[in-house]
Symmetry: C2
Subunit: 325 residues, 2 copies
DNA sequence: TTGTATGCGTTATCAG
DNA sequence: CTGATAACGCATACAA
């Protein structure tokens, strides 16, 4: 790998001059500028970003911690984040925590050591106070940390309300919400709050089913939903916390010979690609994934610039009515 | 951010000594070691990996270029790669090229500037010779580059053969292969070679349908398959190049009131999670994604160690018979 | 308009 | 067993 020194030698100038043309700083004669460019081309010179970052105290690296990018929601979110970050001149370091507390901490330490300029935390097992030591721009996904760490989420309460109301509007009498682990203190829990409040308000029988912690296995979802129907064979509405879960629900219903949407209506969450890909197409609550990713990056950049950023960044959700209701 | 200098001061030693305890090199008295550790704890010191990398000429960073991590195959592959890389002490920089030639080149340059220790290239629009300048350990996914760039793939020919034979064994008389763009010079094209050879050999009518270049849109798949049935209403077997496409095919069949597997049989490819999630569950050719990811990393590491590596790294595929056949 | 010297945070070499 | 110093590649302040 050629260095700035090699370029300088070849061009017959000093490294300072090369650095100047590289960064377009100060005055430089056209003649030397040309010489330098030629030398760079000839050597196929690429500035060493490690050295630059070290000097500038800025790496243009971002850390992204998700449970696993194998899950469609996080896959699409990661794609959105990387794409937008790239447009803003940032690179993203991918971290899959598997919703494992130790890994989350480990990754945070690692990212700090690598001098990332910011961290997007979309995996939340660790406790609030663990963040105290993170002396870095940080944005949280779907979790409000005590303190002023800004977070991005979509309107979970509204999402839960829309889904529940739709189910009831369509005539459901006995509904269930299959959600993540409520002990995890995620804003997604508001979906369940809305579910409970709405069902109660409208006088409909309701149940809440939680998955185990750390579970992203579709097989587990199926078992869960099977059990649900075992206990409540007359259940006629299911609201799930992801499209993946909704597809599992469809599958179980089909196995149990329950017709959708006649016998059971289902509402998913996220509106990932899979929702409109399968049959029946899944009615779901759409999270604006692209916008959420972009907003996370913007919030990080604003923090880097020492700007004041709002703590609550809640984007609207929309109901996508399709074939499961 | 505290530096090694701060630690040295606080511990009353020089940076050399701190560096020594940090790296466990040379002899150090227990007393000073303890002092240093205490100072590090007190300051919450984290070594700056940028500086370390610069000095060592090794970043422990890997670049991963995929078309888009939003596609299930690449999502699962990325998860596998990141997981294994992490276990080997490497971090991965995520790059989504959107199968865009310019972006691929741009990303490669960017990764080089950031001094990554190796690149995994799972997106291939660019021409063979573009790789000439990449003076770095590199591994290719599913593409054999003229020259000695090692690649990882699964046995595409065998996959195509297994799928086609299954279709014919089950009684299909008129089959189609919906594949990517054959002009892209991917090893995945061998699936089509096998398809054609097998169909011809066994005397079955066959068609090959290519997607446009750069297409990862499920809507496009549906249109394609719709057209296919328009032209050949009596088609009774479809082999697709991904599970996503297979699901699209299922959807189209359902819309056209064709029963699966009675009227039409479908075989997908990859065995991503979605294949066993939907109904009917998709019969598919399983690629060993985890192993492929791990192998790519291993090949990279071997190249870093200047070891001789095999160019052809082909892993076996297996047929997963499920409900679409 | 260009060059010299210094420092970013770290590690290795060589003395002591 | 520990310390001074140079070097990794680059960019800036200050001179010239």
């Amino acid at each position: 790998m050629p260095t700035i020194k090699d370029v300088a030698e070849k061009a017959g100038v000093t490294v300072t001059t090369v650095s100047r043309v590289l960064n377009n700083r100060g005055y430089i004669s056209e003649a030397t500028r040309k010489k330098v460019y030629q030398a760079m081309e000839g050597l196929n010179y690429q500035p060493n970003e490690l050295a630059r970052s070290l000097f500038r105290g800025k790496s243009h690296l971002l850390g992204l911690i998700t449970p696993t990018v194998a899950h469609p929601f996080f896959a699409e979110l990661s794609a959105a984040i990387e794409g937008y970050a790239h447009s803003k001149g940032y690179k993203v370091l991918l971290c899959n925590s598997q919703l494992n507390r130790e890994k989350e901490k480990e990754y945070i330490e690692m990212l700090k050591r690598h001098q990332v300029d910011g961290i997007i935390m979309a995996s939340h097992t660790i406790e609030v106070d663990e963040f105290a030591n993170v002396n870095l721009p940080i944005v949280t996904f779907d979790r409000r940390i005590k303190g002023e760490i800004p977070y991005v989420s979509s309107d979970n309460y509204q999402g839960g309300k829309l889904a529940t109301n739709l189910l009831i509007d369509k005539g459901c009498q006995k509904i269930a919400h299959v959600c993540g682990n409520l002990s995890l203190d995620l804003l997604a829990n508001k979906r369940n709050e809305a579910f409970v409040a709405t069902a109660r308000e409208r006088g409909v029988e309701y149940y809440t089913i939680q998955t185990e912690i750390n579970v992203f296995e579709t097989k587990q979802y199926e078992l869960l939903i099977r059990d649900l129907f075992n206990e409540h064979p007359d259940l006629d509405g299911i609201f799930t916390n992801s499209d993946l879960m909704a597809v599992s629900a469809i599958k179980v219903c089909s196995i149990l010979k329950k017709k959708i949407p006649d016998d059971v209506r289902i509402v998913g969450y996220d509106d990932t690609n899979i929702a409109s890909l399968v049959l029946p197409q899944v009615t779901t609550v759409r999270q604006p994934i692209e916008k959420m990713g972009a907003m996370a990056i913007d919030l990080l950049i604003q923090q880097m610039n020492k700007e004041q950023v709002p703590v609550d960044n809640i984007l609207p959700v929309t109901l996508q009515e399709r074939e499961t209701t």
